[in-house]
Amino acid sequence: MAGGISIARAWRKVSGSDIYYSFRTSRITVAAAIVTAIIFAACFAAPLIAIQDPYDPANLDLGVAMRPPVFWGGGWDFPLGTDDQGRDMYSAILYGTRLSLIVGFASVLLAMALGVTIGLVSGYAGGATDAVLMRAADVQLTFPAFLIALTLDGIVRGLIAQKVLPFDHDAIALPVIVLSLGLSFWPQYARTVRGAVLVERTKDYVNAARIIGVRPWRILWRHILPNAMGPVLVIATINLAVAIITEATLSFLGVGMPKTQPSLGTLIQIGNDYLSSGDLWITVSPGIMLAVLVLAVNLLGDWLRDALNPKLR
């Protein structure tokens, strides 16, 4: 009973807020949110609604390879057709999208954790620490994040080739790509948080906290950071779309997720070899999925940026 009341109260609070109003009145944002929610739900439920587990080699059957989708004259056993290994495309796309989302979220979280920490340290410490950290961010921002991620991936491959790392690359492809992406995206967060810290640290509430003896870390995390979270969340949403694109790009280039564990980018790459022979479905359906996912996330990010920007209210 009490739970019901508090949920109702929370809902009233949300539904009366400015942000919810700006969400409700933007039809395209609502549409993007619905599409995103459906994709997320489908990916969570992938093991339940997929026809087969596309990562299980036992399910690969060359006898049914290159079957076209239903609307291309194929049968209902493989609604979206199969790839060159006889993998069901519908299941592969579900699992691949899930993989793209996992990589996207994990790398954004990593970049955010790293960037926010560096930004807090840099802004609060100032001096030489600040100068070194921010120059590092400058140098990194000179180059596209995707180039840095590609280089990091190459370094890991080099270390594996030199037997410094005792792994097979395919076995650790997922953590490697998350690490590469996470390490390429931190500077934007660091810069934003540092800027916010510089503004906030002179304010009265920070001085008051310092005077009553609150430790610097606690001031940074509990007092300053919550005031800097708005822009960080906006960056994170837009960053999620960029991370998904970058992962797909790396996988398409053949240096991301391996063919035994395909993400959307890997599927598109597999299909790329068959484009000229007219067997388009292996590329086209994951391509559409990727485009829709990225577009929806981008639209949400654009809306969030405008909604949280006090100048536009």
Binding site: R135, D138, V139, T249, L280, V284
Partner: protein, 328 residues
């Protein structure tokens, strides 16, 4: 002016030094130069002797200095994969990448600016709305998907343009060019559109928002009150003032284009340095990777420096601002 120049040069030197350091570490520590030179059956003693002879046991600063000196002459040793000199591999493929990036930049500029001007002058027209929507999709679609889409339409579907390679090229000294043959020019069309599309949307958006801003200023209103023709106002007064950020962005984007050519070159099997880099990442070919990084670092730093200087030359306000701070 001098202080500004020195500060910029200093920053450029820091970036270049960092890139050189990373490149050095990749070359010497992630890869093993000795392994690349000798066969499996070379004894440990022979390896150690070679190591000594090549100066690989010298103190790190000396080795770094030697690395930089060699790199400046384009010497990065032999590729692990093909055993060819890395400098020559890169030099052979550089023209392909530079021509592609240049054409892509021209395409982005020549189409993006007019589109931006139009949608800035008529923000409410339906053409502008369509342009805005298309540019959002252009930003959302990954480069390689756009490339595949273009291949599907123009190469597989209509069969009018080639989907891979440079077509026919001609040799001018050490430079192979695709500009002089019909097949070479046709082969350039799809890759350069793919590569330039993102920059096109970027330029269009910047020109549009700058035009919207400039059209509200007093001097444009005043020019209109004086009875000047729309054409004179739009192009002589408004567009001229939007060009400073456009030139900066285009210049900086040229570096991005060279880096993003990696993707386009892979999609279109374009024999440039980007494709070479992907292959070297895949096969952990450290000398090629470190050479490519050094090259791209050098290009980025040079381009950024030039753009900064250009910015300074174009915008008289910057010069007066500098003079004012010095006087104060």
């Amino acid at each position: 002016m001098i202080a500004f120049l020195i500060r910029r040069l200093f920053q450029a030197a820091i970036v270049m030094l960092t890139v050189a350091l990373i490149s050095f570490v990749l070359f010497n520590y992630v890869g093993d130069p000795i392994n690349a030179m000798v066969g499996q059956d070379t004894s440990l003693q022979d390896r150690e002797k070679l190591r000594q002879d090549l100066g690989l046991n010298d103190p790190i600063p000396i080795r770094f200095a030697r690395f930089v000196a060699n790199a400046a002459q384009g010497q990065f040793g032999l590729s692990y994969r093909t055993a060819e000199p890395v400098g020559r591999m890169i030099l052979e493929r550089l023209p392909a990448t530079l021509e592609l990036s240049l054409v892509a930049a021209l395409f982005a500029l020549c189409v993006g600016v007019p589109m931006g001007v139009y949608s800035g002058l008529h923000p409410k027209s339906w053409v502008s709305r369509i342009l805005q929507a298309v540019s959002l999709i252009g930003i959302s679609l990954p480069t390689f998907l756009i490339g595949i889409l273009l291949i599907l339409i123009f190469a597989v579907g209509l069969g009018v343009l080639p989907s891979f390679g440079r077509g026919e090229t001609m040799k001018l000294g050490g430079w192979t060019t695709g500009f002089l043959t019909v097949a070479g020019l046709k082969a350039l069309i799809l890759p350069s559109i793919t590569l330039g599309l993102f920059q096109l949307t970027l330029i269009m958006r910047i020109v549009r928002s700058e035009m919207l801003e400039v059209m509200r200023t007093d001097y444009v209103k005043f020019a209109r009150a004086r009875g000047l023709k729309s054409r004179a106002i739009n192009f002589g007064h408004a567009l001229k003032n939007t060009l400073v950020p456009v030139i900066t962005i285009t210049g900086l984007q040229l570096g991005q284009l060279i880096a993003f050519a990696i993707i386009t070159e892979t999609v279109f099997a374009w024999p440039g340095v980007g494709q070479l880099f992907v292959t070297s990442v895949y096969s952990a070919d450290m000398p090629v990777m470190s050479a490519y990084l050094a090259l791209i670092g050098f290009l980025f730093v040079t381009i950024n420096l030039l753009v900064d200087l250009l910015y300074f030359a174009i915008d008289p306000r910057l010069r007066t601002a500098q003079a004012a701070t010095r006087a104060a």
